[in-house]
Structure formats: C-alpha cells, structure tokens
C-alpha cells in the first residue's frame, strides 16, 4: 500500500482544496464572456480602417495563409509608424514600444482552446467568409476590441457549420 508519500498532506493544503472547490463553483457560475480586456494601447480600428483605408489583411497578415490571423505587433506597426504620423498619445506609446523593441502585450480577445483546430486560412481563403461574420464590424470601432462580437462557443461554430453544410465530425475541429 502506498500510504507514506501520497498521504502526507498538511492542513493548509486542505484549506487550498476547499478554496479551490469554491473557486470552481464560482468559476462555473461566472459568465465566461471575455469582458473588458484592457489593451495596452487604445487602438482605434476606425482610424486605421475607415479613415486610413487599411484592409484587415494589411495588419492581420496571416489570415489568408495560416491558421492564426495573428495580432499585429511592432514589426507590423513599424511599417507605417517608423516615425510619428499623428499627435496621438497612444501612438507615442506605440513608438515607445517600437523604440525599446518590446512586444506590445496585446490581450487576445478571440481565441479557441488548444484542442480546437481553427484555421483562418480555411475560413477566409477557402470558405470565402467575411471577417465580419465572426468579428463584427470591427472597422467602425474607435476603441480597442474588448469583447467578442459573437461568443465563440462550440454551439455557435456547429450551427454555422450545419447551415453552411460543412462537416460537423468532431475530428473536423477537435484534436
């Protein structure tokens, strides 16, 4: 019998366990909407898209070629912002990141768990889907994306797959 090593547990671990269980319950009850993700830079899609005339793919460069669309970071930003082009405070922050060669710690709003195979290429390139179907009219947002336009849930994915007559085999997405 293996009593020894597995069973030497001190009370504070018990406390942790209780806490953990409570936390699970709370977690279970909490609505998981990825709400108010605070972004390090008050980025305006509106300024870039509507005013600046940028296309989604200009910055989210990999949406047509890779699984991940990628969130642009300084390497992408520097193409236009090699020097200040406005008087915005946020651009100054950006330039600071660029000059210090630090990654902008963007908070990711849209994500799928790692057991889901989601490919932008498949949806954007092969499926010819508009970005707005999932992400909404991001271009009109003057503030950074803080919450999901459509909650990315399995049901939501599956509904769309069903209506568009795409495979709903578990192994089409799960892995």
């Amino acid at each position: 019998m293996q009593i020894g090593n597995t069973f030497m547990v001190k009370p504070n671990r018990v406390a942790a366990s209780v806490f953990f269980l409570l936390a699970i319950i709370i977690a279970g009850c909490a609505d998981g909407q990825n709400s108010d993700a605070v972004q390090p830079i008050v980025y305006s899609h509106y300024t870039h898209v509507e005013e600046g005339g940028a296309e989604c793919l200009d910055c989210h460069q990999y949406a047509e070629t890779q699984s991940a669309a990628s969130i642009p970071n300084i390497k992408v930003c520097i193409d236009c912002h090699d020097e200040a082009i406005s008087e915005s405070e946020d651009e100054a922050t950006l330039l600071m990141y660029i000059s210090e060669n630090k990654k902008i710690p963007w908070r990711q709003v849209y994500s799928v768990p790692d057991y889901v195979f989601f490919s932008h290429r498949r949806h954007v390139k092969l499926g010819q889907m508009e970005c707005a179907v999932c992400h909404g009219d991001v271009g009109s947002l003057a503030v950074p994306v803080a919450e999901q336009y459509e909650r990315i849930t399995m049901e939501w994915c599956m509904d769309c797959h069903e209506t568009s007559n795409v495979s709903n085999d578990c192994y089409a997405c799960h892995r």
Binding site: F117, C170, Y171, H174
Partner: protein, 227 residues
Amino acid sequence: MAKWGMVIDLNKCTGCGECVTACKVELNVPVVGPEESAKGRTLLCMDILSTYEGEFPDVKMRTLPRPCFHCEHPPCIKVCPVRATYINDEGIVAQIYPQCIGCRYCQVACPYTVKYFNWTKPEWPEERGAALNPDVSVRPEGVVEKCTFCVHRLQKAKEQVAVEGRELREGDYVPACVESCPTKAMYFGDLDNPKHMVSQLKKSHRAFRLMEDLGTEPKVYYLSEVE
C-alpha cells in the same frame, strides 16, 4: 471516403523505438516521471511489444510496433457513455478529450489495451512549455487518450490540399511514427484506394492482423517476417 490504415512490415522493423519516441514528441504525450512510471502509468500511444520465443540457445526475440488499431468494429466505442470515442467516416477511432468523462470503460473494453488514462495532470518543465507541438492539444488530467493516427496532420493536409486545389494524395497525410520510421517499415494510406501502397500490401500473403478472431477488423496490418 477514405479508410485510413497502416501496414507494418515486420521484416523491415528492427524494433529501434523511434516510432515510440516520435509519437511521444508529436502528440505531446506527457512524461510521467519515475514514481508514476513505476506504478505502470507510462503513456505510450505507440508502443513496441516484445516477446521471446524458444529457449536458450534457440531463442528469437520478436518486436511488434503497436499503435491503436483503429478497428472497423471497435469494441471501445460501443461502451463509451458520452460519445467521447467514436469512429468517424474516415475510419479513424477518435478520442475527444474535452468530451471524455474519464470512466475508462473504453480502456477496459479494448482487447488490445491501446488506451491510456491520464492519471495525473501532465507536467512539463517550464522551459519546455513553449515548445510543445502546437498542433496537438495538451491533455488535461483524468481523460483517456490514444493514438489518433495523427489526425491533426489530416486536418492540416486537407486544408493544404484544398488550397492547392487538388485531391489528397498518398503521402500527403502520414502519422508521425510512419514518417519517422528509419527503416521505412511502416506504410500509411487509404485502404480502399487501390492505388495506395497499403491497399496492395494488405493483400499480401504475409499480411495478418492481430486477433482477427475477435471480429474487430483492425485497420493496422502486419506483414510477417520472412524466415
């Protein structure tokens, strides 16, 4: 629909264990450590079975690589209470980790013992964390896992093929073990497609499957050794 299957030529296999390692690395199969291992909790989605025949000095050691056999009539899927394991249209016996409740019934029902349970939460050194295969999920604790025929490669291959605007060809999709076999003893492809090597090899007089009498119809064929 393709019926994916594998042929392992035992005459070519030397039992080097590369397929096992390749599988562990590719599928992010956790290393459980010495204590857990001593309890018999080593996870080997791909394994090599070894047996000795005869007595000294006329002994023969036989090695047999053992993936999941992806039976055409898998006994494991019938007993799954939540559909976490099922056989899909392409003949791959799936294990959906987020669906599995960890009852281990499938593990118990599998006559080949190819299913493994994550008894503890997989742990990786912090340094290694970022270098796991991003194509495969990290299993949570408490679920059953198994060889998936590297289905993540199929998912990617299908997409790649669609981008290139062509049909899936032999070799577009092979599991990690087949890809890395140094002696090229493993073949993979569509068993129903007469053009694929596997569908020809399975008709060989050397071809056999394990425990055919059970009626599970494994999709992994072996080619026996030539004496």
